[in-house]
């Protein structure tokens, strides 16, 4: 106690700046909380010249994050650059020399988490990553510690603020996909290249992290079936509402008899589902376990303040532990090759919007395609196509069937003259496995 902990910040973007401001603004409070003085000694940035005011204040500023990760004055590396490289290499370099690391990097933790966590343990260091999923929502800590007595059966989450913001705009204000994206970009909720968000890749990284923790299994993003929101139209939200559902970009991880069911895709959920109430850039994670039943944690999933809350808490935990002279807690054993359920065997209900020719016989022909695969139709709505007068929109929901059977139906529809185009295919989650 009375010692100081030297911190190296990799990245001074929105979150990095938020963390630096918090550490400098609350220095005395934090020292009192963790038992040592926290000093940011060095920072890695892209443009050194643009940060001259920080160099003047005594900070070592460099454009070489690897050098910062191995810097003598740095005891704890805080990685906030994002992206896989060079972040993963920097984390590895720091851990290899026994320096602990705090990161908010979902891509690195999703793709290389298990290896890096094992390296940390081998070197007596710690790798903490609360900020990598759900911003400031305390979900990593809850899964690691507070819910550890449970056999977790599932995790359901809205964990991408970009798509939830866009979906809310389309749902509440009837915006088109393009208008919702433009609005999200205008407000800084979406990147100029929004691919990682709208195609669900960001959510798949985060789900892999959550599933690994929840099921003590090394789950990677390639294990997650991932579909984006590009095909959504404003009228899908209207039809869903008429059927009693909201549409949300849901990330779901479940234990099933066939293995782990890991999926990210837009989903119809009942209006009464807690996820239906999560709007805008909010994130929410619902964990179900044998003792707890279900808990839901909801809050801001991104942003300087929210992510700083998580990152600085992790810093304080490491600092407090080091001040007490404690070794890190040993990791829970993990299953390193979990069985992942084949998507084709998973039981699903489906919402389809098809563009069909507005002529006699279409319903009979399409109905036959469904019947050929044994897929039973639950509801049908035909309305004029909003743009093409010789087409109609056909909105179909099915009873439960295997995802493989539904895929074969879609293949049959593509071959049929009775479908012009598949508008969108969404899965419906009633909370029941079978219908």
């Amino acid at each position: 106690m009375g010692e100081s902990l030297g911190i190296g910040l990799l990245g001074l973007g929105v979150v990095g700046r938020g963390v630096l401001d918090a550490l400098q603004g609350n220095a005395l409070v934090y020292e009192s909380r963790c038992g040592q003085r926290l000093e940011v000694k060095a920072a890695a940035v892209r443009n050194v010249a643009a940060r001259s005011e920080l160099s003047a204040a005594g900070l070592t500023i460099s454009d070489d994050p690897l050098a910062i990760s191995s810097h003598n004055d740095v005891d704890l590396v805080v990685e906030l650059m994002g992206g896989e490289s060079p972040a993963a290499e920097c984390i590895e370099a720091a851990l290899s020399t026994g320096k602990s690391v705090v990161t908010a990097n979902k891509e690195v933790m999703a793709k290389r988490g298990p290896v890096l966590l094992a390296l940390a343990e081998a070197r007596g260091a710690e790798l903490r990553y609360e900020g990598s999923v759900g911003g400031g929502i305390p979900i990593i800590g809850a899964l690691q510690r507070d819910l550890q007595a449970n056999d977790v059966s599932s995790v359901r989450a809205i964990i991408n603020g970009t798509t939830n913001y866009m979906i809310t705009a389309m749902s509440r204000d009837g915006m088109s996909y393009e208008a919702a994206l433009a609005e999200a970009q205008r407000l800084g909720y979406a990147e100029s290249d929004p691919t990682n968000d709208v195609d669900g890749i960001d959510a798949a990284y985060k789900l892999a992290i959550l599933a690994s923790l929840a099921f003590h299994s090394q789950v990677g993003p390639d294990d997650v079936h991932c579909e984006g929101i590009r095909s959504l139209e404003a009228r899908d939200f209207v039809h869903a509402r008429d059927l009693g559902y909201a549409i949300r970009m849901l990330a779901t991880a479940r234990q099933t008899a066939l293995g782990l069911d890991l999926r990210v895709h837009p989903t119809l959920v009942p209006m009464t589902d807690p996820m239906a109430g999560v709007e805008g850039v909010l994130n929410a994670v619902s964990v179900s376990g044998d003792l707890i039943g279900s808990v839901v944690l909801e809050g801001p999933g991104a942003g300087a303040g929210a992510t700083s809350s998580a990152v600085v808490a992790d810093i304080l935990e490491v600092a407090g532990r080091l001040a007490s002279g404690q070794a890190p807690r040993r990791l829970r054993p993990m299953d390193d090759s979990p069985k992942v359920a084949p998507l084709s065997d998973i039981w699903v209900r489906t919402y389809l919007r098809l563009e069909v020719p507005d002529r006699a016989g279409v319903l009979a022909e399409l109905g036959a395609v469904f019947a050929a695969e044994g897929v039973s139709i639950a509801s049908v709505l035909q309305t004029p196509h909003p743009e093409r007068s010789q087409s109609a929109d056909l909105i179909v929901t099915t009873h439960g069937c295997s995802d493989g059977a539904l895929q074969r139906v879609l293949d049959g529809l593509q071959r049929s003259d009775s479908m012009i185009e598949l508008g969108v295919r969404l899965r419906i989650e009633d909370g029941c496995d079978n219908d």
Copy 2:
């Protein structure tokens, strides 16, 4: 590692039985998770003879909890008896000899928490209490660890399942208070003497615990202003809904310029407030802080499973720490005499249901009482009294004023001939401090 941790269970009621079942049913998984075998060595119960099957299984069964707390084979005491005594004495006895303690006892933690936590620290032991507030909701852990980087400005919570169940029944089904209580008792959600729940005492214990953590200050239940739900009628929910509000039994702790504002009472909240969506026996805690914004944690607030989830997680944390040979983390410094804002100075909006005589001049006379204290009326509704034909119900909401001014209005109304009886007084929380 490979050692065993001897556990002494104080109390084998609903929660104690749940914890015992979990420990025995999941023994191998838990050993793998924390690095040692967890063995329940002894249990204290009221009626030893009724537990003969446990004695036969090798457990030491006793009706002397103090003896179990000091038992040689017991390394960790799990206190699940509830109530202040002898639980507090047992916890003290265990900590005094360096045994760590896990408890779910809100009354002990509210009234004696700071002293017991200090004793634990002095003896190198640990006192954990996640199960004391909100059942399995991971709120204690979140406030202690994941949210520790924040300056917490407020905690708002629905943390008593009994009253929330009753309120939901009155709100959704138009049940009277008496019918809702009878239903709650029938389902086991309320005790035969429901005082601790319906008068808000249980919630005040829990709020004191949460406020102490949130504000690093020793807050006790006597610092919490507490009003119960006995005066609620089904029609209050109808009137509130007409005004755009739901009614919830809210526990609120806020930092203000005047000191800590700590209150438990039925409150009108906007229908759009997250708390308005919390129904039945669910609990929810919302924490606001300068970095995080707001997070909400929602889940089952009571019951064997939910509380066991918290208690066993605490057991696993202690066991893991002991298996690693680590000392407990030192406690954060606390303000031992925080300034509590005088209730009379707190700014509030108010909902009143008054029984008034159905005659000329009443409105003018009552209006004068409000005006004399400078309290401005926001809305008035007069309807026939449901039971007494010569009376009317007068539903009044006020603009913001000090709680003291409102109290003087109530005193004036009591002295006036124009009010027969004060039916109920509820505070309205719009999320704004002033109106």
